[in-house]
Symmetry: C2
Subunit: 340 residues, 2 copies
DNA sequence: AATAGTATTGCAAACGTTTTCATAAATTCT
DNA sequence: AGAATTTATGAAAACGTTTGCAATACTATT
């Protein structure tokens, strides 16, 4: 059917088939207005017949962009990032870019390795999650002069362009909602905060907010759990099985909150009558849990889309200008929290 | 600190700095044994000083592999694929490859476009989800002679190498479990099966299994919902609010089952006393829901890992040999199903 | 009908590597 | 000590594109 000449169909094969020079073929793709309609038709027929597919790598060698953007995330596995990845991917796709994805499992050294790997592929830009990165990573980015941005966090003082939310505010909002409902004895379930500025900011801000109201959280009310429903469930179980139990649980994110909810249900506690549970994030599905999860909404999809749009135009722009976007947070009051 | 010469640090800049020829620098990377330790040291120092990062695109132009593998999924958003993507990504990373990810939103034409896009980047291989693809996609793959594989489905007769599970068996297992518990009036919630062979196989096999036992499922017991907790919840609500309601719900996957469970809880039905709910997939978290979800386990992580490992060795091998791996399914009996 | 434009095309150099082949230096052998 | 290897390096061609410049073929002008 399609007689592929011994393998390599390149621009000169097309040129030969169309009886024109390679330059003309190249121009047909890149500056169609410079080539006559007739030749263009001839060339397109040849392209069709030979099944030619352009070679971006070869284009790239002429200072052209590679057409790829790298995204390095802690993990793809959880609901947390899946949504941003999808939105970011769609947005850059829209602009003609392709996504190179890598994950590092919350290990900043592996993050460096991943960024480096992406740079070997000459990505046109690299997006990272959060603002905390190793020095090596920062140096690498600066040295290679690769456009870079941070997703998920917003910070006034950020060196990098960023699109995200203020995680401190998220923590504060969550704490204040519980305080407002009259809770004074609050348990905290957060992940390890090393190398995870998102979680750290939320936690410290929440604790500060509580302290402002004269409440200090003793250690036995603090529990650490990774972003895993089952491990969070376990952590909640422990927190709730003590001699006295808190009246509310503030969780580092919705995944943990979901685990906590199941833990509470397992203990036979009625939510929100016996225990209030507060998440952060408002992941897909959090609204549908029974009872539906009260949380602080971080608009993941918006962040991903905005990040993708801004970053691509930043990359393609002649005179790129710094951008820092802070997405609004919103307390979403649903079924897992109640007045004490 | 690092004095970067007007931008481009290439192999010849390194060569100049180390006072050797470009060839030697190249060799230091690709055949270190061919260059004397002394020169190697000189060169490495120069690399360090200049912050040189290799250019895979340029390497690729010499028949070298690009070091990238494309993965095209229907969606990144749901728990469904996040796990496979993560496992696949980790596995190919292990082998030195980088992931180019694209999603098509269950649209086979967009899938074609994505595959084409990946081929412009000269991926060393492209992995697709499922075995149902457009003719154009198949032609493209054959024509470009790009190694390709299918993930998630297993089929004896597949043209492509594949690693996955038998979705028909999954559907059958789910149906048989419900039958065994004595259920005769079973509701079905499945997604649109066009362009989604996974769902279609599960559904037809489930229906067949029921028919073998003399049970036919009337239309009002069938509902369609996409892979979304909230929409599945809605669908379940409708199915359960009719004049008579089924004693069990068989769901196309765990996401739908989760939605169905919330729907049932919202109706005030006790699961599994009043209603049994069966999922397919055993996604992360399904074990932790209260009550925990009875389902058919499809080992997503195993599939992703195996796929990544086999595909990379398939790609790098001199004499690649076809592989078709069928991962074992296992009914996981948990809390959402009970004897009638 | 000759001239000046203008539209279209081709030639050749360039991009950053790898690799074959050739050469020079160092080592081993007799 | 000279020949024969072996080891280490360099020169140059090649990979598949793009693009500046030059050449050609039209068209419109006088």
């Amino acid at each position: 059917m399609t007689p592929k000449q011994k393998g390599n169909v390149d621009i000169v094969a097309v040129a030969r088939a169309a009886k024109v020079s390679p330059s003309t073929v190249s121009r047909t793709f890149n500056h169609p207005d410079l080539v006559s309609p007739a030749t263009r038709k001839k060339i397109n027929r040849a392209v069709q017949k030979l099944g030619y597919v352009r070679n971006r790598a070869a284009q790239m060698m002429h200072g052209k962009r590679s057409g790829t953007i790298g995204l390095v995330v802690p993990t793809i596995n959880h609901a947390i990032f899946a949504e941003v990845i999808q939105a970011f991917s769609d947005a850059i796709d829209q602009a003609g870019f392709t996504l190179l994805l890598a994950s590092h499992g919350y290990d900043l050294d592996r993050e460096y390795a991943m960024v480096r790997k992406l740079m070997e592929h000459r990505v046109d830009g690299v997006a990272l999650i959060g603002l905390e990165h190793s020095d090596a990573t920062a140096r690498l980015i600066a040295q290679q002069e690769t456009p870079a941005m941070a997703i998920w966090n917003y910070a006034e003082e950020s060196e990098l362009p960023c699109v995200g939310a203020d995680n401190r505010q998220a923590g504060r909002m969550a704490a204040e909602h519980l305080l407002q409902l009259g809770h004074r004895d609050i348990g905290l379930i957060f992940p390890d905060t090393r190398g995870n500025d998102r979680a750290r900011h939320r936690l410290t801000a929440a604790v500060e907010a509580l302290e402002t109201h004269g409440i200090s959280v003793p250690d036995e009310r603090k529990s650490e759990a990774p972003y895993s429903v089952s491990q969070a469930k376990q952590a909640a179980l422990e927190l709730l099985s003590g001699p006295s139990r808190p009246t509310a649980l503030l969780c580092g994110n919705d995944v943990i909150a979901q685990g906590a909810l199941y833990g509470a249900q397992k203990c036979g506690l009625k939510v929100p009558q016996d225990l209030s549970i507060m998440g952060i994030g408002d992941f897909k599905g959090s609204a549908d849990i029974e009872p539906s999860l009260t949380t602080v909404r971080i608009p993941a999809e918006t962040i991903g889309t905005l990040a993708g749009e801004r970053f691509t135009s930043y990359i393609t722009s002649e005179a790129p200008e710094m951008f820092k976007l802070c997405c609004e947070l919103e307390p979403i009051l649903r079924g897992t929290t109640g007045r004490i």
